[in-house]
């Protein structure tokens, strides 16, 4: 056979691809990259008599990083987001597993529709309804009262904030888990049974490792959502203790200190990017490194 290898041509820019990719690229540059640059720049500005002035001073960074409340807020926010990620992953998994492995295709479709529906209702509205449920004289305490149990204080606590986080992220995490579990090779499950591994053990030894990417990405999304959320810690958690998102609004509201708010925001963006990087590495880590 006489096949001449195709000549290596200079990489040509695919006009078609550029055309269709450009709207999202333009959008990202205009509304994400550019504001981010401005945000970083703003951290070096100064505020004089409640007025913003362009400058290039490190004072805002020093001030924020030398105040205890910032560290407290950072650790609290990080911890809450971490707990939310683990908690939501654990809550979502049994349901996603049942839908992927046990449910009929019809049930699965209905469940997917039901999981998408929350995205049509405003998150704020859902949080308000949680307020009614969790309030001091709300539904939960009403039911407890009927049972003769003294009311519990839920609203204004970290527990209430966590309820909000779960509301926010659970449907998405469940969907991500469901899709990744649906793609698990069922033959691997049978192979595990065939090698003497019982059903429950197979879930942990075969299903979870097979769906690792989806499980890690799902948990990461839960973390991202919870870490940046403002609504739940404000309306359910009562801003006590404050999260970083609340710290940002505090800086702006009291003293119009946009640069310091920007410092907190930049720290948040860096944290999220670092988390994403680490977690994608965890998700896509390869097995068997020899050679």
């Amino acid at each position: 056979m006489d096949v001449t290898p195709p000549k290596r041509s200079r990489p040509r820019i695919d006009r078609f691809a550029v055309f269709w990719a450009s709207p999202s690229l333009v959008w990202q540059v205009a509304f994400f990259v550019a504001p981010l640059v401005v945000l970083v720049w703003m951290t070096f500005w100064r505020v004089k008599n409640f007025k913003l002035e362009q400058d290039f001073i490190p004072d805002n960074w020093i001030r924020i990083f030398s105040s205890g409340f910032f560290y407290d807020a950072f650790l609290y926010t990080f911890w809450m987001a971490l707990v939310a990620a683990v908690l939501i992953t654990l809550i979502a998994f049994p349901a996603a597993y049942a839908l992927a492995f046990i449910a009929s295709p019809r049930t699965r479709t209905l469940a997917i529709v039901a999981l998408i529906t929350p995205f049509f209702t405003s998150y704020l509205v859902r949080i308000y309804s949680w307020q009614i449920i969790l309030a001091e004289k709300g539904i939960i305490n009403g039911v407890l009262g009927l049972a003769g149990i003294s009311p519990v204080n839920i609203i204004g606590t970290s527990t209430a904030t966590m309820v909000g986080y779960v509301t926010l992220a659970l449907p998405l995490v469940l969907l991500i888990q469901l899709f990744s579990l649906s793609m698990v090779d069922k033959r691997l499950v049978e192979a595990a049974y065939n090698l003497g591994c019982g059903p429950l053990k197979t879930v942990f030894k075969v299903v979870v490792p097979s769906a690792r990417v989806g499980l890690v990405i799902g948990g990461t999304f839960a973390f991202l959502f919870a870490f940046g959320d403002y609504v739940s810690p404000l309306f359910l958690g009562g801003s006590k203790p404050p999260t970083l998102s609340i710290l940002i609004t505090d800086q702006v509201k009291s003293g119009n200190n946009w640069p310091r708010a920007a410092v907190v925001a930049v720290v948040m963006v860096i944290t999220l990017m670092a988390t994403l990087t680490v977690m994608s590495a965890v998700a896509y880590r390869r097995r068997g490194g020899a050679r």
Binding site: A191, L195, P209, G288, G289
Partner: protein, 363 residues
């Protein structure tokens, strides 16, 4: 036969209205290499899955030795399987894959387990791959890992589901030899599902031919090849000519079948009544081929026809001959034999055979 290691007793498997396996009776002796063969959808894989406990029979009984296995879950059985897709765990290394089953047994500690897994990897010639990931292996290497993973459990029965079908041709032949060798050395019972004749004939002691959920024939490769029990088997094996007609005589003198080409004798006995449709089967390599003008050899049955085509497969030539009534037959000969005749397309030839080389199947 002493107590069979595995017994299928009127085993049936249906999914709603569709029946995958009708009613299969099969006894597998210890140490046998038995092949379940048939076209896709014939129920062979379902049968194997029932032996593994991955599918539950709808009716009938599966026994291992004398224990009824119907309700024993797959994970409590000792019948590891080698899968067509290998079904290796991609998130585990080669060594960990082989150790997987051993770990579930808990018969040895970690050190003993590792030693055993390494021993099997070594035995299959892939000890050097122990630390690799599955995605770093070639198809042939994966096949070996899958075999090591199953054999490391040192089971009494090994189930194989078309294990070689994903390999390329020359590797397939090498693995065939290796499987046959392993079977000989280990004395383990192999139950082997395949749709490839050459695999079944090359390795198995006994072959079960299935079609549409039913067993068509159980026999040694020789039995199946020389004496297919049904038209389906004869056609599936494809090594024989099938000429149908009407049964005219059946008695001590043998059987006579008549059709437009003449009267043909056959030696075997048959349950077919006189006057019914029947066909006689003659293996392509049992036919003598001469020019029609040459003198006929006495005592043989014969037909004449014209050469339609020749096919060369290695040293063997297949000659297709058109018969006067529109049917055709084929003859397989060594190339040097045919070369002597110097045949060309359209030449008149005589096909002749001994009646005792033929046998009769229902028409």
């Amino acid at each position: 036969m002493s107590v069979p290691i595995m017994t299928l007793d009127k085993v049936r498997k249906s999914y709603g209205d569709s029946v995958a396996v009708h009613s299969i009776d099969l006894e597998i002796a210890k140490g046998e290499f038995i092949a379940l063969m048939g076209p896709s959808g014939c129920g062979k894989t379902t049968t194997l899955r029932m032996l593994a406990g991955l599918d539950k029979p709808s009716a009938g009984e599966i026994r291992m030795w004398s224990r009824v296995m119907n309700d024993v879950p797959a994970w409590e059985r000792d019948t590891p399987m080698v899968w067509q897709s290998y079904a290796l765990f991609p998130f585990l290394s080669v060594l960990e894959n082989v150790e997987f089953g051993l770990k579930q047994r808990r018969t040895t500690d970690a050190v003993g387990r590792r030693a055993k897994a390494m021993e099997w990897l070594d035995r299959l010639g892939i000890a050097g791959m122990a630390g690799r990931g599955i995605d770093q292996l070639s198809g042939g290497q994966r096949q070996r890992v899958a075999l090591a993973r199953a054999l490391a459990l040192e089971p009494e029965v090994l189930l194989l589901d078309e294990p070689l079908s994903a390999l390329d041709a020359h590797l397939r032949v090498r693995m065939q030899t290796e499987l046959a060798r392993l079977h000989g050395e280990l004395g383990i019972t192999f139950v082997y599902v395949t749709h490839t004749q050459s695999e079944a004939f090359a390795m198995a002691n006994r072959i079960v031919i299935m079609s549409e959920g039913r067993v068509q024939q159980i026999g040694t490769p020789q039995d199946i090849y020389r004496a297919p029990a049904t038209r389906f088997v004869a056609e599936f094996i494809g090594a024989s000519n099938i000429l149908s007609g009407t049964l005219k005589e059946s008695g001590a003198g043998g059987i006579v079948i008549e059709n437009a080409l003449g009267r043909f004798r056959s030696a075997g006995a048959t349950g077919i009544a006189v006057g019914q449709d029947a066909a006689f089967v003659i293996a392509a390599d049992k036919i003598a081929l001469t020019r029609a003008a040459d003198p006929a050899e006495p005592g043989l049955d014969a037909v004449t026809g014209t050469v339609a085509a020749e096919e060369f497969i290695g040293a063997v030539v297949t000659i297709h001959v058109d018969l006067p009534d529109g049917r055709s037959m084929f003859v397989q000969k060594q190339q040097n034999e045919v070369g002597r005749l110097g045949l060309a397309r359209g030449d008149e030839v005589r096909l002749a055979w001994h009646p005792q080389d033929t046998f009769v199947i229902p028409g």
